[in-house]
């Protein structure tokens, strides 16, 4: 058995060895690789928003191998930390930096102005600079498909919603419109919980919605709690990010962000020297978005209709907000024959027909 003295001396030796063995090569290593930094707003976990961004980062590593090096910092959300982290990346020789949360926008813009040679990419925001591109996904396309699945499996949807921002309102409306396209009497109940991640609150909200009699659940939050609630209570759920491992019977399908192809494209552009600032808002047509395989409980004809609609969106033949679009108070927002323009989509502040209640103002 090792006594205290030998433990002490062997750990001193280990410290000494470490000093000579590790520090020197690190200093001599050439710094030619493109270093790519990711700022995440939450922990990666095993499902949800940040998890899907990290899938994209892993795709970069698989695609470019030794030509690049990636790093990430988790749980950076708002406050003074975001600017420091972005700046640390920029000043440590990272050539391409992705900010994956809305709250990273203003901090990133401030750093971008100080580091003109570094390329910045910000997801979900609206500030674009010569060296800061913005990108987001037309998530309402997949939400419409989720709604179609929900509408063929039940008569009502209960939504565990995060914040009443246009993106989330758009998703609620798209799901409701999709459901009503296959089930005209379908209705949607919404509960706002003012958080992106709170498994306890997500669960109790899901339970409350089930108690009110909804058939299918949906969520904009990050944890699998809503899927687990549906599984335990014998209801269905359309999820955010594939979470079928949490609900083999209840998980009908999920909206899946597919950031990888975009990340690969932008990284290749930096490596080729062709990167330019841009504003990307694409969806199914550019493979930035998809839905996960349908549950066996979904009837084949309903599945076929969903697949057909997905193809129509891919070719541009169908738009989820094609007119007539009516609010739930009967006001016409988009006339028959027209489609909602991006300005309306980006600032959507009304519920469509079929959603119960009023938006918090």
């Amino acid at each position: 058995m090792m006594n205290r003295r030998t433990l002490l001396s062997s750990s001193t030796a280990a410290l000494g060895l470490g000093l000579t063995a590790t520090v020197i090569p690190a200093n001599l290593r050439a710094q030619e690789k493109l270093k790519i930094g990711f700022v995440y707003s939450s922990l990666i976990g095993d499902a949800g928003w940040t998890f899907m961004h990290d899938e994209g980062r892993l795709m970069l590593e698989a695609e470019f191998g030794d030509a690049i090096e990636t790093a990430y910092v988790e749980s950076i959300d708002g406050g003074a930390d975001a600017e420091r982290v972005v700046r640390q990346f920029a000043s440590q020789g990272f050539g391409l930096i992705f900010g994956t949360s809305f709250n990273h926008m203003n901090p990133m813009a401030r750093v971008a102005e100080q580091f003109p040679d570094v390329k910045f990419e910000h997801a979900t925001g609206y500030t674009q600079l010569p060296n800061m591109a913005i990108y987001h996904v037309r998530d309402y396309e997949a939400r419409y498909l989720l709604g179609m699945v929900a509408g063929s499996m039940g008569n009502s949807l209960g939504v565990v919603a995060s914040y009443p921002i246009p993106e989330v309102v758009r998703g609620i409306n798209a799901m409701t419109a999709g459901a009503r396209s296959v089930n005209p009497n379908f209705t949607t109940k919404v509960v706002w919980i003012s958080t992106w991640f709170d498994p306890g609150l997500e669960r109790t909200t899901a339970d409350a919605l089930i108690d009110q009699g909804v058939d299918v659940l949906a969520h904009f939050t990050d944890s699998p709690a809503v899927v687990q609630a549906a599984e335990d209570r014998g209801k269905y759920v359309v999820a955010l990010g594939a979470m079928d491992q949490y609900g083999p019977k209840s998980h009908l399908t999920a909206m899946v962000y597919n950031w990888g192809p975009y990340y690969v494209e932008r990284t290749r552009a930096v490596l080729d020297g062709t990167w330019a600032s841009s504003n990307t808002w694409e969806g199914i047509s550019r493979d930035m978005l998809t839905i996960s395989p349908l549950n066996a409980a979904v009837p084949a004809d309903a599945g076929a209709a969903v697949t057909a609609k997905q193809e129509e969106m891919r070719t541009g033949a169908f738009h989820p907000f094609a007119g007539p679009v009516l609010t739930n108070t009967g006001e016409e927002k988009v006339a028959a024959g027209a489609v909602a323009d991006d300005g309306m989509l980006l600032s959507m502040d009304f519920y469509v027909e079929g959603v119960e209640g009023a938006l918090p103002s």
């Binding site: 590790t22 910092v73 950076i76 959300d77 003074a80 930390d81 203003n106 914040y163 009443p164 246009p166």
Partner: protein, 357 residues
């Protein structure tokens, strides 16, 4: 042979300064093994933790900037904790300061009033105090446990901030996102050091630290607070007013926390957001105890905590997961607090005498 703890009659001077050193050595050794065990270069990780954050002027300025809120709130908490008055809700008082200060900044947006930032800070301090007055009042009037009331008011403050940035204070040009406008230049804290984010608010730290040291060690009111904590019956017998102590400690901490909130939104953040503090109000509780409830100790502890906070971000850039970074931070804090046992107790190795049956 079993170790036993025997209370020292006098705190040991050797242990007073030696305990943190022992804790640090233990933590470094633990970190070495921890980082090596997940396949990372342990020396590079420790370097990223403790050296990299401070080996550039920007890094140093960030350390001072991050330590500022922790130190200011920790100083206030230390006064109350000395008197066994437990304000756990500094985070909520910080948020109210941000709301109050931020509202002034937004009300004067684009008006070009010079020195708006001073008004922002003052309003923040006052709204923080007002929020802290609620648990103080409930304690004095209804004997409601201040730990619970101050803690619960954090969640109320959080929801209030959320309501405001989604509603009345939302940026009209912000595409519906939950954030206020960026404050105009005259509402922002002037920088103390060009090229960094360190602002003039930092100058308040030495003032507050010296002021609270003078208060605790050289004033009758400070003496009352200490007696109130060490021996409450004695303080009552001497006629020291308990409500007075409660008011003082809550208003002091609430004012400092509110000031911090206002300086965060008018400083590095620059606008109101749904999330503006990474938990400074909670971390300041650790800072207060780590600093042994003394002003100098609190200031040192705040800088240590800021260092490991920034270091925790740095090691993630080397591929250390944030959960491992937090584990390491936790071990450092536990080691530091646990080693304090050595200051008040000494370890005696002895076989307990067998009692006669």
């Amino acid at each position: 042979m079993l170790p036993r703890l025997v209370l020292r009659l006098q705190p040991s001077a050797l242990a007073l300064y030696g305990a943190p050193v022992i804790a640090l050595i233990f933590t470094l050794a633990f970190g070495y093994v921890l980082f090596a065990s997940i396949g990372r270069d342990p020396l590079a990780a420790l370097h990223a933790y403790f050296i990299a954050p401070v080996n550039s002027t920007f890094g140093l300025s960030e350390l001072l900037l991050t330590a500022l809120p922790l130190a200011l709130i920790g100083l206030g908490l230390a006064v109350g904790f000395r008197a066994n008055i437990w304000n756990i809700g500094a985070e909520g008082q910080l948020l109210l300061g941000a709301i109050g200060g931020g509202s002034v900044a937004l009300a004067l947006w684009g008006e070009g009033v010079p020195g708006t930032f001073i008004l922002v800070c003052l309003t923040g301090a006052i709204t923080g105090m007002a929020w802290a007055a609620i648990p103080a009042f409930l304690r004095i009037r209804f004997n409601a446990n201040e730990i619970l009331t101050s803690l619960m008011l954090i969640y109320v403050a959080d929801q209030l901030l959320g309501y405001l940035v989604h509603g009345p204070l939302k940026n009209p040009q912000g595409f519906g996102f939950p954030e206020s406008r960026l404050f105009s230049a005259e509402a922002q804290m002037p920088l103390l050091w060009d090229g960094t984010r360190l602002h003039v608010g930092w100058l308040l730290l030495p003032v507050a630290a010296v002021g609270i040291w003078l208060f605790l060690s050289h004033t009758l009111a400070g003496f009352r607070m200490r007696v109130g904590g060490d021996a409450e019956p004695a303080a009552a017998y001497a006629g020291f007013s308990r409500p007075g102590m409660i008011w003082l400690s809550f208003l002091l901490t609430g004012g400092l926390a509110g000031l911090v909130g206002a300086m965060e939104v008018a400083g590095p953040v620059g606008q109101l957001l749904p999330t503006i503090s990474p938990g400074y109000g909670f971390a300041a509780i650790i800072v207060a105890f780590l600093g042994r409830l003394t002003p100098l100790g609190v200031v040192l502890a705040a800088h240590l905590l800021a260092l490991i906070l920034i270091g925790g971000e740095n090691v993630q850039m080397l591929g250390v997961p944030s959960s491992v970074a937090q584990l390491f931070q936790g071990v450092l804090l536990v080691a530091l607090l646990a080693s304090d046992v050595l200051v008040r107790f000494r370890v005696v190795w002895s076989t307990p005498a067998r009692r006669a049956a």
